[in-house]
């Protein structure tokens, strides 16, 4: 038709009118005329099948490797919050934990099912503990942690900003509720050393917690929250506090307690002596102690590997289905 001729003709005119220009000018011209060179990928069946196939080929091995890494991790989890309450207090655990006069000592026996290679990481795990609650998360002051008493606009720390008119260092709910159960380990009679250094992030110790800032007026109120701090030690060395202050994202979380730097053999029994100080009873939280080795992927978590394998496998399956469909009916010429 006439207009077809015209369009082809005009295309000719167009190229004629715009002589071959170089570089930037040409690109600008093409941009304005909306005919920049472009790749126009079209999802032809060949592409689709290849894509799915490639996903499968890539994902299944990754899945197996991840799974293997995760399986290699040995993990011992022991919940002790209910066991470590004397029978007389079973009915009123809150009273037990609040009662200063009762001994909080407790002993747990953990059996090693598989050889664990050092370093073995010791975690405490809390459950139903909302460290991510908005009120809680906000109740801290980064500047005070770094500069101590020199910095005194700490209104964000409310309701634990001041005590008896004096500032608290470190202020805020997070520090106040510091976890204060403590653990010691032995294998038979042999004491297992727990290295509690370097459990916090290097950057926190160096740049966020002051080297010359000492705890002040901490846990001096009538309501005692969690652990107390040794006011002789600067905050940058209070690694427990530093770890605790890194609030967890979810209400169930683990935090690093320390490292056992000795291998544990299969069938070893690790005796844990712990002080069950921390009150999780009033809100129904759980406390667990975890001993775990690690792999290049971190702790024991099969989820990643499994998902990889699942996705890879289903991709392979889809690739197959499409291949069959394509062979059966080919709508398009020259796929």
């Amino acid at each position: 038709m006439a207009s077809e001729e015209r369009s082809s003709l005009s295309a000719g005119v167009e190229s004629h009118r715009a002589p071959v220009r170089s570089g930037w000018k040409k690109a600008v011209h093409q941009f304005k005329q909306q005919n920049l060179p472009a790749c126009k990928p079209v999802l032809t069946p060949a592409w689709v099948i290849t894509t799915y196939f490639l996903i499968g080929v890539l994902f299944i091995p990754i899945g197996f490797i991840s799974l293997r890494a995760s399986m290699g991790v040995v993990e011992i989890v022991d919940r002790y919050d209910t066991e470590c309450v004397p029978n007389s207090y079973k009915s009123d655990k809150v009273a037990y934990v609040k009662d200063m006069s009762v001994s909080k000592n407790c002993t747990r026996y953990l059996k090693v099912k598989k050889r664990m290679k050092a370093p073995i990481y010791v975690y405490y795990e809390l459950d139903n503990y909302y460290q991510n609650h908005r009120r809680y998360v906000k109740s801290r002051n980064e500047q005070q942690l770094l500069h101590g008493l020199r910095y005194n606009s700490t209104s964000s720390c409310r309701p634990l900003e001041l005590n008896k008119g004096l500032p608290i260092v470190p202020c805020g709910l997070v520090a106040w509720s510091l976890f204060n159960d403590s653990y010691s380990f032995s294998r038979g009679a042999e004491k297992l050393n727990v290295n509690r250094k370097n459990i916090a992030w290097q950057s926190d110790r160096d740049h966020k917690f002051g080297k010359k800032v000492h705890p002040f007026n901490f846990q001096n109120g009538t309501l005692i929250g969690g652990g107390k701090l040794d006011s002789r030690i600067p905050l940058s060395d209070q690694e427990d506090l530093i770890v605790w202050m890194r609030t967890a994202a979810l209400p169930s979380f683990r935090k690093l307690y320390g490292r056992i730097e000795e291998d544990l053999d299969e069938d070893d029994v690790v005796i844990v002596n712990l002080l069950n100080n921390y009150n999780t009873y009033s809100f129904g939280g759980k406390k667990k102690i975890v001993l775990s080795t690690s792999s290049w992927l971190g702790g024991r978590n099969n989820f990643l590997g499994m998902t990889y394998i699942l996705v890879g496998a289903s991709s392979m399956f889809i690739a197959l289905v499409f291949l069959l469909l394509h062979v059966k009916s080919s709508r398009l010429p020259a796929m």
């Binding site: 167009e14 920049l36 069946p45 994902f59 909302y130 609650h133 967890a248 809100f283 290049w296 469909l325």
Partner: protein, 1263 residues
């Protein structure tokens, strides 16, 4: 007539005066009684403008304004416009609330984007309005000569004019306001006016002053002039005027004949004097203009609904959050001692009173309802990321860029006028992709307002070419088909087919021959239509496009019998009202006349050797060749001139030649002339009739020429009668004149016919053809008369001969009674019967066309009949409305828009089109010709009509898809991101804690996802421009709104929900609660936030990569650049000292980057989040492909190059079956030819079967 009925009639009159009726052209003496009553109270003191400066006769001055805002109203009005957008209103509220402690974010992160978004849009508005203001200023400060007293005229700006001022307007100037004509440079006080800007009519109109003021034709004469005008109040009726003039104690009635309207132009008259009666906003043309509305595109309006949906989701999840929070606080959190929600006042003796203040109202277990409310408000702000704030500003940016690209398109650049397409508002780019009905003006839009002499038929012989363009195209196409047949049948033996082929080629050879003979005409046709001029080949004479060697260069002189031919040319040269003007530069003669047709006849006559040289009051002097071919000057005495008017449809002159013979030369419409032929004058009637229909099908305007010789005595007798009629005063004068004319204009002798071409603009038929194929309906709205409109309908293929035309107009009887009811019934009956016709079963496939005139339309568009009328109109393939006023154009546009609910586009070039341009969803002004009003009111301006094709089919289609994809993607990305915030709330006991850093949140819409989507909006092309034009059917995706349907919207929201779920859940399960690094560290909230955010960024950016079908380096740069910039951002953020970076300090370098799980999780999560969409498009493309998918695949596989038959077939299939347009006509013609062929074949076959040879053959024992 009784008194009662008389008053009844008057009532009817008052109503009908609102209508556009020509009966009002006659001064109506009854109406005089109305003066002084309400609606007719205006008093104008001529020459005493100072009286109109104070009450009670204070009228506005002549200043006009078309701006939307003024200095004071800009801020409130523009702000109101902005906050009409719900999303903006929401963000305003959020910004106000963010100043309180409730906000989960910092106030600046809320306020800054809003100010940016609103500010940008307002600046745009201001600039647009400023340009309108400048345009107004230009008009307002035009100069006119105004009487300043003592007969001195001084130049003043238009805006300073007051009612009562006496002005002097000279030739070719516009009238500054509505004037009462006092006198003109002509003795008899007439002047010629061109009203193109008002009604689009190009012929000159004659206005006459009153006898009383005839003598005021000198500057000095006006010194003492004083009169009072009492007239109607300002109104919108262009064709009525009621008033009287009290001058020198005489009172004379005024009629529309004395009123000169603003924006019309004085032509062929040296000067006129006039009194301002309506000024500025009171003038009829301004009253007729409607305010330019702020238009919003369909998609944008639907987008509001999408935003409502998102709002509902937002409110819903906010409710869940707030209620959840209250319940949690009340039941669980109260026991969480580490939060210290309970203040144990009584039990604690050393209670710090400050503690009480630290009670957090949003987590107050003692007042759950209050904290519930606080949480609700906080949640509303928090989940604001569901509402894409940057959507508006992004769309605004994208549209400006799109408009820029449209403006820069070289293929829509008109070299002649050096103008290109201009998108005057960028709001409507995507609306261009959804147009279904085009309402077009005729003059200046489809036609160039130029007449060309094309063909004539003299003594039953046609000159100037026989074949029509349709025939040529049909034969060309059939030739191609034959080639194809030959190709496909190669080798196979099929006698019947080869017979058919032979027949076709035989058929064609005849047309081919004509083609050859007509070579030059052909070339011209090609040139005219292809838009490439073959200039320089032969100096074209403007208005004369006739190539036939038989008539040119006076070759016809040598024929044996030429007297009739000479008569024919004499009619051409004598029967007119034109005047020759000597061109001062070239010395050649130019002509001016009431209508362009007459000019074109005069030019043609000149070319044929009959040059019209001079006109005096009673003589016409022409140069004509004598039989030997020598040019001589001959003088004809003009005895009588019987004028042309719309009811007579003919014009005659009676002249006496030098030999004393008296001739009547008559030209007129075919049926009129045929009725008045003498029995002996019908020699050529049959041949001429055939030619006429051929010409008409080509869209040429035809006119018949006839003459007769009159005896001197017969003439004398008649003349007495005629003179008597002329001398009559009163309303029966017209009738008497008409009757007298009737007597003499009969027993004519037919000479032949002429055909002139109302020259179409370049490429109009092709453009209409493409638009029709793309599924658009085209309505032609014109102020011109019916015949002209129908001609143009044919010329641009809106009509064709096998179409059934429904003509709706007031019947004579109904019109004469002037009874509303009768007229209504008449029209209703016509509409009903036509509709019954169209819905008949056998007419299903039959195309209908409707032609309706202004008066009928006025009735048909009344409330009670509108539905029926529009139902009929919509079922017609083409609609032509003629004789419509500007207001009616707007009314039709609005009715069509409202009734059909489809997107309408109005295109026009004059001030008379302003109404419809503003009323339509998209208004387009043609910027080629004079007059800027249409362009000023339009949304887009085009230098040529033909660019509409590219504007709609290419740019409209692209913009529609771009904007839809863009909005859908925006919805997706905000849902995908916003919902992760919500899921996290579930894990934080709905306390309002945010997983991501504030800066991540701000950056999400601003930096990390904005540029790819803008690139998508500007550069996305589903198929290339050429392919768009080859497959006009692709355009229907926009008409059916396939890309922005609720199905798709919901689909994308679902996709977003899935993506958000995948991202959130997988992250939570992968990263918690075990260590994520080899050295045993666990991930805290900052780590999980950053990792999750990484997944979000990857997912949304990869998603857009899946949407894009046209990857230029810009898209690549933006998409992958956005992802890269996230890594840069998180790295740089971590490098900042902890004072600024808080918990993000060294996050990337120290924790995330070294963790292999971070990278593996990202890969997995992104793939999973995109998998459903990927599966969806794969299934859609493989099993339910859309048109664009198929075409994309064909291009991808290079089908267009390697397998052109398949490509062409696809192209053919994609065209919408349409009844209008060039190709449709060609198809119809081919069908017709084939039918004829078939008939011939069966005839041959029958004769063959009946032939004895066949019988013997079949009876032979061999068979």
């Amino acid at each position: 007539m009784t008194e009662q009925s008389k008053s009844n009639r008057k009532k009817g009159k008052v109503k009908w005066s609102k209508l556009y009726t020509f009966s009002c052209l006659k001064p109506n003496f009854d109406d005089q009684q109305l003066l002084g009553q309400p609606g007719f109270s205006r008093v104008v003191f001529c020459n005493k403008p100072e009286l109109h400066k104070a009450k009670p006769y204070k009228y506005p001055n002549n200043y006009i304004s078309t701006t939307k805002y003024n200095v004071v109203s800009f801020l409130p009005k523009a702000l109101f416009e902005q906050f009409r957008r719900v999303a903006n209103l929401y963000f305003l509220l959020a910004a106000i609330l963010s100043a309180t402690s409730l906000a989960p974010f910092t106030p600046t992160s809320m306020i800054a984007p809003l100010v940016f978004v609103v500010g940008l849009s307002m600046i745009k508005e201001a600039v647009e309005d400023w340009s309108r203001f400048l345009q107004d200023m230009k008009v307002n400060s035009r100069k006119v000569k105004v009487h300043a007293g003592n007969g001195i005229f001084v130049e003043r700006a238009w805006r300073t004019l007051l009612v009562g001022d006496v002005v002097k307007v000279t030739k070719d100037e516009y009238f500054p306001s509505d004037l009462l004509l006092l006198s003109s440079s002509y003795e008899d006080g007439v002047c010629y006016v061109e009203t193109m800007n008002l009604d689009g009519e190009t012929n000159l109109k004659v206005k006459r002053c009153l006898e009383a003021t005839l003598n005021l034709d000198e500057d000095s004469g006006l010194r003492t002039f004083s009169a009072t005008i009492r007239c109607e109040d300002p109104n919108t009726n262009l064709y009525t005027f009621v008033g009287n003039l009290e001058f020198e104690k005489d009172s004379s009635p005024l009629s529309p004949d004395q009123v000169l309207l603003r924006d019309s132009k004085l032509r062929n008259t040296d000067y006129i004097y006039g009194v301002v009666i309506f000024s500025g906003p009171d003038t009829k043309v301004v009253r007729n203009s409607t305010r330019s509305p702020s238009k919003r595109s369909r998609i944008e309006r639907k987008m509001d609904h999408v935003i409502y949906v998102l709002f509902s989701i937002l409110v819903l999840i906010s409710l869940v959050t707030s209620i959840g929070s209250a319940i949690f606080t009340d039941h669980d959190m109260v026991n969480a001692w580490y939060l210290r929600l309970k203040v144990e006042e009584s039990t604690d003796p050393s209670f710090d009173p400050k503690d009480k203040e630290s009670k957090d109202p949003s987590f107050d277990p003692t007042e759950p309802l209050v904290s519930c409310f606080y949480q609700f408000v906080r949640a509303l702000i928090l989940y604001g990321y569901l509402i894409p704030i940057s959507l508006y500003v992004s769309i605004e940016i994208v549209k400006v860029l799109q408009a820029m690209l449209i403006n820069k398109d070289l293929q829509m650049y008109d070299k002649l006028s050096c103008k290109s397409v201009e998108a005057r508002t960028s709001n409507l780019n995507e609306e261009l992709g959804q147009v279904e009905i085009i309402l077009s003006d005729k003059t200046g839009t489809l036609t160039c307002n130029q007449m060309e002499f094309r063909k004539c038929s003299i003594e039953g012989l046609s000159y100037g070419g026989d074949t029509t363009e349709i025939d040529l195209a049909a034969s060309r196409r059939m030739n191609i088909e034959i080639e194809r047949y030959r190709f496909s049948l190669d080798g196979s033996d099929s006698t019947s087919r080869s017979l058919e082929m032979f027949e076709i080629s035989a058929e064609n050879s005849s047309t081919d021959k004509v083609t050859l003979a007509n070579d030059q005409g052909m070339e011209n046709f090609g040139a005219g239509n292809l838009g490439y001029s073959v200039s320089g080949k032969e100096a074209n004479i403007k208005g004369f496009n006739f190539r036939d060697s038989r008539l040119l260069r006076k070759l016809w002189i040598h024929r044996s019998e030429i007297s009739n031919m000479m008569m024919f040319f004499r009619v051409m040269a004598l029967c007119h009202t034109g005047i020759p003007i000597e061109d001062s530069q070239t010395g050649k003669l130019k002509y001016e006349a009431e209508s362009p047709e007459e000019v074109c006849f005069l030019i043609a006559a000149q070319e044929f050797g009959f040059q019209f040289c001079r006109r005096t009051q009673s003589k016409l002097i022409i140069k004509e060749p004598n039989p030997s071919g020598v040019e001589v000057e001959r003088e004809y005495k003009l005895l009588n001139l019987l004028e042309f008017n719309s009811s007579r449809k003919r014009m005659s002159v009676i002249v006496r030649d030098e030999d004393g013979h008296i001739f009547l030369f008559c030209k007129g419409a075919d049926n009129i002339i045929f009725d008045r032929l003498a029995d002996g004058g019908r020699t050529y009637q049959q041949a001429t009739t055939m030619h006429l229909s051929n010409y008409a099908e080509d869209g040429l305007r035809t006119m018949l020429f006839a003459y007769k010789q009159i005896d001197v005595t017969e003439y004398e007798n008649w003349n007495l009668q005629f003179m008597k009629a002329k001398a009559t005063i009163g309303f029966e004068r017209e009738e008497l004149i008409e009757a007298a004319s009737e007597i003499i204009e009969k027993n004519l002798y037919l000479l032949g016919a002429v055909a002139v071409d109302d020259k179409l603009q370049d490429g109009v038929p092709e453009c209409i053809d493409k638009l029709a194929q793309a599924g658009m309906k085209i309505w032609l709205l014109t102020g011109d008369k019916k015949e002209t409109a129908v001609n143009i309908g044919f010329a641009c293929s809106l009509l064709r001969h096998d179409m059934q035309q429904i003509r709706i107009s007031l019947s004579k009887e109904a019109e004469s009674t002037n009874q509303v009811k009768a007229m209504k019934e008449d029209i209703l009956q016509q509409i009903e019967s036509s509709y019954q016709l169209t819905i008949k079963e056998e007419n299903r496939e039959h195309p209908f066309a409707m032609v309706i005139d202004g008066k009928a339309l006025q009735i048909a568009l009344a409330n009670d009949m509108r539905q029926k009328f529009l139902r009929l109109a919509v079922s017609c393939a083409a609609v032509i409305c003629c004789r419509v006023s500007p207001k009616q154009k707007a009314l039709i546009t609005r009715s069509v828009k409202e009734y059909t609910g489809k997107t309408t586009l109005a295109i026009g070039d004059g001030a008379n089109d302003v109404g419809m341009i503003q009323e339509a969803d998209i208004g387009i002004g043609i910027s080629g010709m004079e007059g800027m009003q249409a362009v000023m009111a339009s949304d887009f301006s085009l230098p040529q009509f033909r660019f509409l094709e590219r504007l709609l089919i290419v740019h409209g289609h692209w913009c529609y898809k771009r904007i839809s994809k863009m909005i859908l993607y925006f919805v997706y990305k905000n849902v995908a991101f916003g919902l992760t915030l919500f899921y996290y709330e579930i894990y934080t006991s709905f306390s309002g804690q945010v997983l991501y850093d504030d800066w991540y949140l701000v950056m999400f819409n601003v930096l990390l996802t904005s540029l790819p989507v803008i690139a998508l909006g500007v550069l996305e092309q589903d198929v290339s421009a050429d392919t768009c034009l080859q497959f006009p059917a692709l355009y229907q995706q926009g008409q059916r709104n396939m890309y922005f349907s609720w199905k798709r919207i919901i689909g994308w929201i679902t996709n977003g929900i899935f993506a958000s779920l995948a991202i959130f859940m997988l992250n939570i399960y992968i990263l918690s609660p075990t260590a994520f690094l080899k050295d045993g560290n666990v991930a805290d909230s900052a780590h999980i936030g950053a990792i999750m955010y990484t997944c979000v960024i990857w997912t949304v950016n990869c998603q857009i990569a899946l949407i894009v079908t046209n990857f230029t380096w810009i898209q690549h740069f933006f998409i992958w650049g956005s992802i890269l910039s996230w890594y840069i951002l998180i790295f740089l953020y971590g490098v900042l000292p902890p004072k600024y970076s808080y918990r993000q300090f060294q996050l990337f370098v120290e924790a995330i980057a070294p963790a292999p799980i971070y990278w593996t999780a990202t890969l997995l999560i992104v793939v999973v989040a995109l998998l459903p969409y990927f599966i969806h498009i794969v299934i859609q493309r493989s099993f339910y492909p859309m048109d664009d998918h198929v075409i994309q695949e064909m291009i991808y596989c290079m089908t267009d190059v390697t397998d052109s038959p398949a490509w062409l077939r696809e192209q053919e299939n994609s065209k919408k079956k349409t009844h209008i347009g060039f190709s449709a006509r060609v198809d119809a013609k081919i069908l017709h030819l084939k039918e004829q062929l078939h008939r011939k074949k069966t005839l041959i076959f029958k004769s063959f079967v009946n032939s004895p040879i066949y019988r013997t053959m079949t009876n032979s024992p061999l068979s």
